[in-house]
Amino acid sequence: MLNTLNVVRLLPELILLVTALVVIFVDLYARRRTALWLLPGVSIAGLVLAFVAAFAQWGAQEVVAGTLAADSFAFYFKLVAAVTVVLVILASVRYMRERTRFLGEFYAFLLVATLAVFVAVSATDLITVYLGLETLSIVSYVLTGFLRDDKRSNEAAIKYFLYGAVASAIMLYGFSLLYGLTGTTDLAEIARRLQAGDVLANLEWVAWPAVILAAVGFAFKASLVPFHQWAPDAYEGAPTPVTMFLSTVSKATGFAVMARVFLTAMPSLGEYWMALLYGLAILTMTVGNLIALRQTSVKRMLAYSSIAHAGFILMGLVAVTAPAGGHPFNGLDGVLMYVVAYAFTNAGAFAVVAAVEDGTGDATLDNFAGLIARAPFLAAAMLIFLLSLAGVPPLAGFAAKLFVFAPVVRQEYYALAVVALVNAVVAAGYYLKVVKQMFFVEVPERPAFAVARGMRWALWLMIIGVFGVGIFMNWFAFMSVRSAAGMLGL
């Protein structure tokens, strides 16, 4: 039964829900001119409130109503999601205004998606895990296909939808096996049952299928190769702010869920899923980067790059350990660090893409030529984001790389380390291609263009975020180490 205290724990989710409804109502009743600023305003206010509500509970460690955890790990992701969605909203103000009439619904959907994220990252039961992920997915399909009169948006949504449906069905099958083996859907309980004698005998046959089939769903969400193929198409076709969302928050959710399920429910199957993820990590970063190398659309290139980054994030999970004394570099903190760094960075890069699309029509590499002269702020911002993606200190990407490389070195996974090293360089190669295009190529004939106000704010926030994470690494390290330690039971 729910008591009052538990409701407080659910406050962030409730705030989001209410905000989403308010947004719908505002959309119904406000005049269009007012709605244009009121809708994002209300949404952001709601997110900020949710952020505050989540932040206020930082340090809690309990399970709400049996299926949701109110722990630092969940709050961490909620905070990241809230901030990122604020940025997405800021970036989408003008972009969406010019492309659709259904602004209220758009923001409401974003809020519901965030709500789904909140549920998914704190889910402690296979049912909530599934539901959270699926809610996120379904809302994401809608968001992706939001520009319903745009062939590309629609195509992206359909591909995303079909892929997601199948992936989640496969995952479900895996869940059903887990359930059958342990007779429970509660993650912690599963872990306990997996240690029981009668279950152990069967592990030989169920462990791999359960791990593999369940991993398909997470891998789909986190777009790990070879379960990534929806991602480039969806990212490219989706409205760019939605891409921002998908490539950061949605992906982070995939990792959060994966980490929680694997770490809470299957710690005893560590060698199984770690081996699987080891392979996936190598594949993901390599294939993502190699394809990114060959792209001519910056948006698509970033899509592949975000796939590659998923491989880097995965390194943290592959090498996860529980060092005595709760020291940093346990692997999971790398995932967390990466997620926050990546949220600012990748969202930023996609935001710039959105701004360039706004200014020039589309986001081919060619359209980035001479950007420094045409929109210096955008070029500078993009440079910062790209450098951060490449892991250049003192930007966020460096902090992230540091924290995911570290556990790999600690575990002495040399092959993975070398592959990651090579990939970091390959990635820098195509990021620099964009930098080159923006700064080294000069096209005096192309006109300058302006950047929307909301976008400007969003970009500034993200730049500050990128520098902030890099320079004040200690704060973020503190938070991620704490969250991770809680998750790892330290």
């Binding site: 250049v392 200190p393 570290a406 620099l432 080159k436 200690n474």
Partner: protein, 517 residues
């Protein structure tokens, strides 16, 4: 005084960053103001660096020595990483060199760069902070941060203001260096896991992996790769000719003058003190790479027709001396050199390597300025296009000869000392390899005199082609070169102040690494 001691490094370090931000705030149309601000702002760290040099020299040298002006502020307590900076007898001269070359480069660029001025000066000042940071950092994370910070502006300097093939060169430069630096980062992490700290001073005391040569070697090569690419040692040098050739003049100067030194500095600041056993174990490899670099670089120079490329390759050769000196010291560290005649040899080899770092900065910096001056007039770097400039441009000729002779290690000029010290050390430790390396000395004379001087300055002047297009050095060019030339002369005759610094550093480093004098 206390204030000075506590803040001087921080001010030097971040002053250029502040200056660059100031430049960023000036509207880009006010080019003259940007230039003035940059130059004058860069003078501040120069003066401070000079004061630092004198202060360290008078107060600590010969006395306590060691790392002074230390500042340690907690940065990432979880990782034991801190904002920990300091300077010892090794870094103080290099900080000065950095400040000097930057100011000269800015001064020279102010007249030459007319395109995208604001960005140029912004990046240049940013670059200075990066370089200072590397020379000051006493924390591996901080070191890495500044190491990379220096990378980006140089990428732009080459890519935007470079010559025809600049995009390719800049990309190559960046990616090469990145490979090394990521490998280095991995090795840093391995050190961290062994010891639980990133602090260089603490690591030096702990000497991780002292009894595990396999892991020590693994870590060693991680860091080695990063540093050797930067130095660059053969066979990691191939980014250098392109980067140097395509960079704008001041970019080449800084690239050759300072950035290459970052790599060599890393050997001395990180590898030697922290991993002395691996350093000793692999010292011989460094000797071999150093010797190959010397001879190979020198021979390749002989085949060049592009003046700038030639000087670029000469850097490979000259930085080979650094590697040779360091490697020889490493071999001596093993204690298994039965024929070692003098315990001083190891220190002298290191003195030589350090001197070479400084001298090469001065000399090659000057040479790149000189090539730039010629290029500004002729718009070609083809050696064979010239001839007889000694008569037409006597002033230029004179300055070039001094720099050229210094480069080929003529006694009486700065370059000699580094070669002398390196050979003095190396001949006692790795005799045969040092002897092979000595071939480079002859070939160096060959390419400086045969390729450059004979082609460009002697012979006949092509009146038809050049006519009035070439004119002798003018005021600002002279002002750029004279400080360097004077230093070459001064150090050539009286290297004492600098050797005092470096010898003190070398003795200290070797003692810490367990060398028994």
């Amino acid at each position: 005084m206390a204030f000075f001691e506590r803040w001087v490094l921080t001010i030097i370090l971040f002053w250029p960053l502040l200056a660059s931000l100031w430049v960023l705030l000036i509207p880009k149309e006010q080019e003259d103001r940007i230039r003035r601000v940059s130059i004058w702002m860069s003078v501040v760290p120069l003066v401070l660096a000079a004061v630092l040099f004198v202060d360290y020299g008078t107060r600590f040298l010969g006395g306590t020595g060691g790392i002074q002006y230390e500042v340690q502020v907690t940065w990432i307590p979880q990782l034991g990483a801190s904002y920990h900076i300091g300077a010892d007898a090794l870094s103080v001269p290099l900080i000065f060199l950095t400040a000097l070359l930057t100011t000269l480069s800015l001064y020279y660029s102010a007249r030459v760069i007319k395109h995208r001025v604001k960005e140029y000066f912004f990046l240049f000042l940013l670059l200075e902070t990066g370089m200072f940071g590397v020379f000051m950092a006493l924390d591996l994370v901080l070191f890495y941060v500044f190491w990379e910070v220096g990378l980006v502006p140089m990428f732009f300097l080459i890519g935007i203001w470079g010559h025809e093939n600049r995009m390719y060169a800049s990309l190559k430069f960046f990616l090469y260096t990145l490979v090394g630096s990521v490998a280095m980062l991995l090795a840093f992490l391995a050190l961290y896991f062994k010891t639980g700290t990133f602090d260089i001073v603490k690591l030096t005391e702990m000497r991780p992996f002292a009894d595990d040569i396999v892991r020590a070697s693994l870590v060693f090569f991680g860091i080695f790769l990063g540093l050797a690419i930067k130095v660059p040692s053969w066979p990691f040098h191939t980014w250098l000719p392109d980067a140097h050739t395509e960079a704008p003049t001041a970019g080449s100067v800084i690239l050759a003058g300072i950035l290459l030194k970052l790599g060599a500095y890393g050997f001395l600041r990180i590898l030697l003190p922290i991993l002395p056993s691996a350093f000793a174990y692999w010292g011989f490899l460094m000797v071999i790479l150093g010797v190959i670099s010397i001879v190979y670089g020198a021979f390749v120079c002989m085949a060049q027709t592009d003046l700038k490329r030639l000087i670029a390759y000469s850097s490979v050769s000259h930085m080979g001396y650094v590697m040779l000196g360091l490697g020889a010291a490493g071999v001596a560290l093993t204690g298994s050199v039965p024929w070692l005649a003098s315990k001083d040899s190891a220190a002298l080899a290191m003195d030589g390597a350090m001197l070479q770092m400084f001298n090469h900065g001065i000399i090659t910096g000057a040479l790149f300025f000189l090539v730039g001056i010629l290029y500004e007039r002729a718009h070609t770097r083809d050696l064979t296009a010239f001839g007889g400039l000694s008569a037409k441009l006597p002033y230029y000729y004179g300055i070039f000869m001094v720099a050229g002779f210094a480069s080929l290690g003529l006694p009486g000029l700065a370059g000699f000392w580094s070669e002398f010290f390196v050979f003095r050390g190396a001949f006692d430790i790795v005799r045969i390899w040092a002897a092979i390396g000595a071939i480079g000395v002859v070939v160096t004379a060959g390419y400086i005199l045969w390729r450059i001087v004979a082609n460009v300055f002697l012979g006949e002047f092509n009146e038809e082609r050049w006519g009035n297009k070439l004119w002798d050095m003018v005021g600002y060019e002279k002002a750029t070169l004279w400080p360097l030339i004077l230093i070459m002369f001064f150090l050539g005759l009286y290297p004492t102040p600098l050797v005092n610094f470096f010898n003190s550093a070398a003795v200290e480093l070797l003692t810490k690494a367990g060398f028994m004098f």
